[in-house]
Symmetry: C2
Subunit: 403 residues, 2 copies
Amino acid sequence: MTRETLRIGLFGYGCVGQGLHDVLNSSSGLRTDIVKICVKDRSKKRRIAMSNFTFDKNDILNDPSINLVVELIDDAEEAFNIVSTAMKNGKNVVTANKVMVARHFRELVDMQDKYRVSLLYEASAGASIPIIRNLEEYYDNELLHSLRGILNGTTNYILTKMHNEGLDFSTALRQAQEKGFAESDPTLDIDGWDAKYKLCIITGHAYGLFLDPAEVFHYGIRSISTFDIRYAKEKGLKIKLVPYVGKTDENTITSFVLPRFISPDKYLYNVDDEYNGVITEAAFADKQFFSGKGAGGHATGSAVLSDISANSYGYKYEYKKYQQGTVSNHTRDLFLEIYLRYRKEKDRKMFGFKEVSEYFSSKFYKYVIGTVNLETLYSLRDQLPAMDVFIVKTGRKVMKARH
Amino acid sequence: MTRETLRIGLFGYGCVGQGLHDVLNSSSGLRTDIVKICVKDRSKKRRIAMSNFTFDKNDILNDPSINLVVELIDDAEEAFNIVSTAMKNGKNVVTANKVMVARHFRELVDMQDKYRVSLLYEASAGASIPIIRNLEEYYDNELLHSLRGILNGTTNYILTKMHNEGLDFSTALRQAQEKGFAESDPTLDIDGWDAKYKLCIITGHAYGLFLDPAEVFHYGIRSISTFDIRYAKEKGLKIKLVPYVGKTDENTITSFVLPRFISPDKYLYNVDDEYNGVITEAAFADKQFFSGKGAGGHATGSAVLSDISANSYGYKYEYKKYQQGTVSNHTRDLFLEIYLRYRKEKDRKMFGFKEVSEYFSSKFYKYVIGTVNLETLYSLRDQLPAMDVFIVKTGRKVMKARH
């Protein structure tokens, strides 16, 4: 391995861009030079000299002296334009944009091959946790049973506040927004989209399937109430938003994003605030757990830097699981045990419960614990936001449907 | 990156060797062929055909068709002979032998350079946890404040049994031996040598210092009593054996192995039985935690396989921190807060306590909590085994000595 001197064109100078700049300035081991930074807003005051900036993306994309494009902008479709043009022009790319990677996953993988360039995106899933690199490198030849975790720092921050301080959802959300952990439009985070995009990226490396995110069921924490938190606390549990992907047989996986009850003896129980955590279960390595900060400019910047560093010695993802092609199907036909808090019996009926194990009714709310088919949840996905219900997966294992 | 077909010569067919064989047989992505297995014992019954084995190491070391030697024997000095001859003969090497790597660290690093071969040893520290690779790849340009963890599965199994089932040390040790988690001579594990060797290997990659293990203070759990466990339980704590390495200033680190009190809100609290766990704290990535199985043929075999896989595309450790040379000193001149359980006042006096914060005395035992200098502990290292005392580091941070 020999290391190349990198000449970087940077897109975006927001929280992560500035975080990366700080991290780069403090690291002695890497020969890099940020040649130009492309930003959109001409009027914004910048903390470094204006001579570092350009407003024309072609100043970077058409500069033959730039060999690495680092893309850190918000807009997923504009990011895709930038990234695909950069790759066509023979430049390697590092990005942190999960929405772009998840939506254009297969295309991006094909382009790397076609234009013989490298696209790295460690920061797009789990921020500072090196999960993609570990899946690529370490689980290369391991039989991975499942992967689950906490991948969204915003919802984890909100849930931690609700649990520890008894706040209601909207107060906790407002505090998260004030602290800069939640966007002014928090939909992406609190409805579970962000966690789902990350899960889809991870699934590409864990199992070699590039899923259409629309095929994966996701559910967030928007309708969580203090009843739900109280129920969890009474049982000594916490509620966390947990994306899951796992094998159902040799060639088939399932995946979904759902809030989940976590007991104190589990690693995820202590993953609080804006931290993320990922648990893998595999045939030989058995259970492994990784945790680290899931949000913030410096944590994300440090993951971006690790990709830049890998780039300097020509590292590429090999997509080994995709090459092997063992897993070829994605199913939603299986049973999960859930807690459903609801008000109206007609709502409960829509879930088609089978094997109800607990039922509770009071003047204020009702809940039922029992098994439902994931396909049923998926079919209700457009109605769920308007229903006065909240769903939490219990700790019971995912069960294969037997018809 | 192109992948080479590997022709492997394997030394040792014990627990890890057989575990590796199982893992290799189940993995589809790697083109490997175990050409020959060298073992010592001619009379032992083997689970595969005898034609796979040889008793002469030169059958592997002098076979030019073998391009990778995998060394999994117990005897550290014989392992060093094998590994250095293999490297001289231009073969890449994968090993799991922490005693050998820690004792000959600098020599082994120099030989890789001299003979232009690769030596990988992920399985030597933390078994299934990919800590070395992450330190090499991910923390390449990160400012690492400290690293601590549980690196010895045997002592963790014993401590878990003592805590959960109220067993005394010797009964818990016997059970660990019956389960195959402890050797018939358990010195290496229970006196903290194993944890120290692993810590020294990690230090090489975390800070670029190849420490002489004799310079690092270690203390194990041999003299732990049920009093100590009871004390911990009353305070809601667990006792774990925790190696630590961290910066004291820009160019200086300290390191030691000591039992430590762990509170329930800490990740290490839930690392039980034969599991290992490592916590890193760094400037930008902040706190990260990795956990996985720290013992067993399959877990260790899976780490060995990940090295074999990395070998197939020419991966080498770069020892970047060593190349950068930022950290150049190792100090023992600092203060730790410890709990000392003891019987005789003359024993206590030897520790030179300063700032005593708690003191307890009863007919059966006494304890004191206060700060001591690590240099003092180190100077007592030969006397400690014969003293009727037990030492546990508290959760308070390591403090720089001010003279």
